[in-house]
C-alpha cells in the first residue's frame, strides 16, 4: 500500500537534500561510491520510516543523523568482520582545485578514527552545535567535545609540525 502524499513529500525531500547528504557522506567515508551507497541507504530508511513519523517537517537533520549512524555502523561492522581491509588512501580529487596543504589535510582526515571524523564533519561542515552533534551521534555533549579535540589532535599528530609552515587559504 503506497501513500501518495508521503511519496510526493519524499521525492521533494530527495531533490532538495540528496546532493548535500551525499557530500556529507563523502566527507565521512572519503569515497564517492560509498557515499552514494550511504546516501541511498539513508533515504531508503527515511522512506520506510516516513508513514510512522509523527512530524514530517525538519527531515534534513533526521536524514543527516541516519547518514552518520549508518556510516558508523558500517565502520564497526567492517572492523568486526575485517572486510575490505585496505591501506589505500581516500579517493583523491580528480582536478587540482585542492591546494597541497588541503590535499594533505584531506588525506590525513582519512586516518582519523570514524567517530572523531564524524564529529569534525558535523561540527565544521554542517555547522552543528555541540548539543546538535551529540543528538545526531546519540552521545553526551562531553563526549562530542572530547572526540572533537581528539580528532584535531590526531590531525596535528598525523600532519606533524611542518604543516604549520604551509600557507593556509581560507
Amino acid at each position: 500500500m503506497t501513500d501518495p502524499i508521503w511519496d510526493a513529500e519524499f521525492s521533494a525531500c530527495f531533490d532538495r537534500c540528496a546532493s548535500g547528504m551525499r557530500f556529507t557522506a563523502y566527507l565521512l567515508c572519503g569515497d564517492w561510491h560509498e557515499a552514494e551507497d550511504l546516501m541511498q541507504a539513508a533515504f531508503l530508511k527515511l522512506y520506510l520510516a516516513g508513514p510512522r513519523l509523527a512530524r514530517r517537517e525538519g527531515l534534513e537533520p533526521y536524514l543527516r543523523r541516519i547518514v552518520v549512524r549508518t556510516f558508523l555502523a558500517e565502520r564497526r561492522r567492517v572492523r568486526w568482520r575485517r572486510e575490505r581491509v585496505t591501506d589505500a588512501p581516500p579517493e583523491l580529487p580528480q582536478d587540482s582545485a585542492l591546494s597541497e596543504d588541503k590535499l594533505i589535510l584531506w588525506q590525513a582526515l582519512a586516518a582519523v578514527p570514524a567517530r572523531q571524523r564524524a564529529v569534525l564533519v558535523l561540527r565544521y561542515w554542517n555547522d552543528l552545535s555541540v548539543e546538535e552533534t551529540a543528538a545526531a551521534l546519540k552521545c553526551s555533549t562531553g563526549n562530542v567535545k572530547s572526540q572533537g579535540s581528539r580528532g584535531l589532535a590526531a590531525l596535528r599528530r598525523i600532519l606533524g609540525p611542518d604543516f604549520a609552515d604551509m600557507p593556509v587559504e581560507v
Binding site: 530527495f14 588541503k102 565544521y124
Partner: protein, 102 residues
C-alpha cells in the same frame, strides 16, 4: 598546527569541486522501498497464518481425551437386577433328578 578554520576551508574547497552525477533518483528509492514493504507485509501475513494454525493445532491436540486432565469422579454403582426371569424349560435337557427328592 591544525585549526578548525583549516578543516572548514578544506571541506569548502572539496564541496566547490565538481562531484560525479547522482546515480540514483527518488523514483528508484520509492520503487525499492515499495518492494521491501510488500515483502515485509507478505512475510508478516505468512507468519500470522502459521501462528494461527499452530495455535489451532495446539488447541485440538490438547483437547483430545487422552490429553485431558483426570477429574475427580466417583464410580457408578453396579447395576442391580430388577426382576428374575426363569429360563424356559427345554425337553431336550430334562432337569436333573436328585436322589431322595421328588
Amino acid at each position: 598546527m591544525v585549526r578548525e578554520e583549516d578543516v572548514r576551508a578544506t571541506f569548502a574547497v572539496l564541496n566547490a569541486r565538481s562531484a560525479p552525477p547522482l546515480a540514483v533518483n527518488a523514483e528508484d528509492v520509492v520503487a525499492y522501498g515499495s518492494r521491501i514493504r510488500k515483502r515485509r507485509k507478505r512475510t508478516l501475513a505468512a507468519a500470522s497464518t502459521g501462528l494461527a494454525v499452530a495455535v489451532v493445532l495446539a488447541g485440538v491436540f490438547l483437547g483430545l481425551p487422552e490429553h485431558r486432565a483426570p477429574t475427580n469422579t466417583t464410580p457408578a454403582r453396579a447395576p442391580e437386577p430388577t426382576s428374575i426371569v426363569e429360563p424356559p424349560h427345554d425337553p431336550a435337557y430334562p432337569e436333573p433328578v436328585i436322589p431322595g427328592q421328588r
